[in-house]
Symmetry: C2
Subunit: 149 residues, 2 copies
DNA sequence: ATACTTGCAAATCGTTTGCAATACC
DNA sequence: GGTATTGCAAACGATTTGCAAGTAT
């Protein structure tokens, strides 16, 4: 997951997952993957693209994000009805969700011990395990609690 | 969380959380809470209500589900963009999510060991921790895997 | 040249809301 | 009677889709 600075490099990469390296796909890939790990919504990426003078429609943003997700380049994280993020980190990891701001923060996979998980129901296999720790700003005192109690 | 079979009992219960025990609220409460723990969508509940000859609009279903959730009678679980369930089990517990059928199954809280959780970021407190184990039917062989690997 | 992509606008889905009519206390 | 609630339909935000025009191989 090192950064791919050059357009040609990104183009190869996109091609590598079976997608035509079109102008918008390559441009979006650069926006997404050249700035470290990110959590973006479709709207956010659209704004960024506009700011970066990349002509791309919102529909194409959605299509591209979905294609990238199917290709394994992104992972979708749903936190609330009507709020879903695309995470450029596809490694095994989890999330803090800040209920006040609506933002996400990665938690490295090894920082959560998931011991003793129940077996997948008969006839099924585990696709992935999502852990979302929902936190909110404590207006009063009692800072730094760590467990749900 | 024992079952409340009688309308008057349910009415008291609804009143107890600060909501007027109207005909539709009480009827919906009975549908929701008299059949063991359930995971329902608004649409599902609406269909059930119609089937049960309970005249209630979809808008009221949504309002009621949200009020019940705020009152702590229900817990909302978002599994995919555009698919959220209301869970009548508000105890500390987790979920299997069947990606093929789109359905949920409870996992008792004590069946998941969440060891060593990272501290809540400074200035925040943990509201709750959601664990969703996403499983899918294995079309091939390799039945009964248990971990993501 | 041909198949894949894009962009637009319309369509769709799930959900919320304004407001007049109605039900509860 | 007065306030909370309902229902309808319209509004809404997020996402998808049909189709004509454009682009990559």
């Amino acid at each position: 997951m090192s950064q791919r600075r050059f357009t040609s490099e990104v183009a190869e990469w996109v091609k590598g997952v079976g997608l035509r390296p079109t102008k918008q796909r390559v441009a979006l890939a650069r926006l997404l993957f050249n700035h470290g790990h990110r959590h973006v919504t479709a709207e956010q990426l659209h704004s960024e693209a506009k700011a970066a003078e990349i002509p791309v429609s919102l529909a194409t943003i959605y299509n591209t994000l979905n294609q990238f997700t199917r290709a394994g380049l992104l992972r979708e994280v749903v936190v609330e009805p009507g709020r879903s993020y695309f995470d450029t980190n596809t490694d095994d990891h989890h999330h803090f969700y800040f209920e006040d701001s609506g933002s996400l923060r990665d938690i490295p996979g090894d920082q959560v011990e998931l011991g003793n998980l129940p077996e997948a129901p008969a006839g099924t296999s585990v696709d992935r395990v999502d852990v979302i720790i929902r936190v909110r700003e404590n207006q009063g005192h009692n800072a730094g609690r760590t467990s749900t109690g």
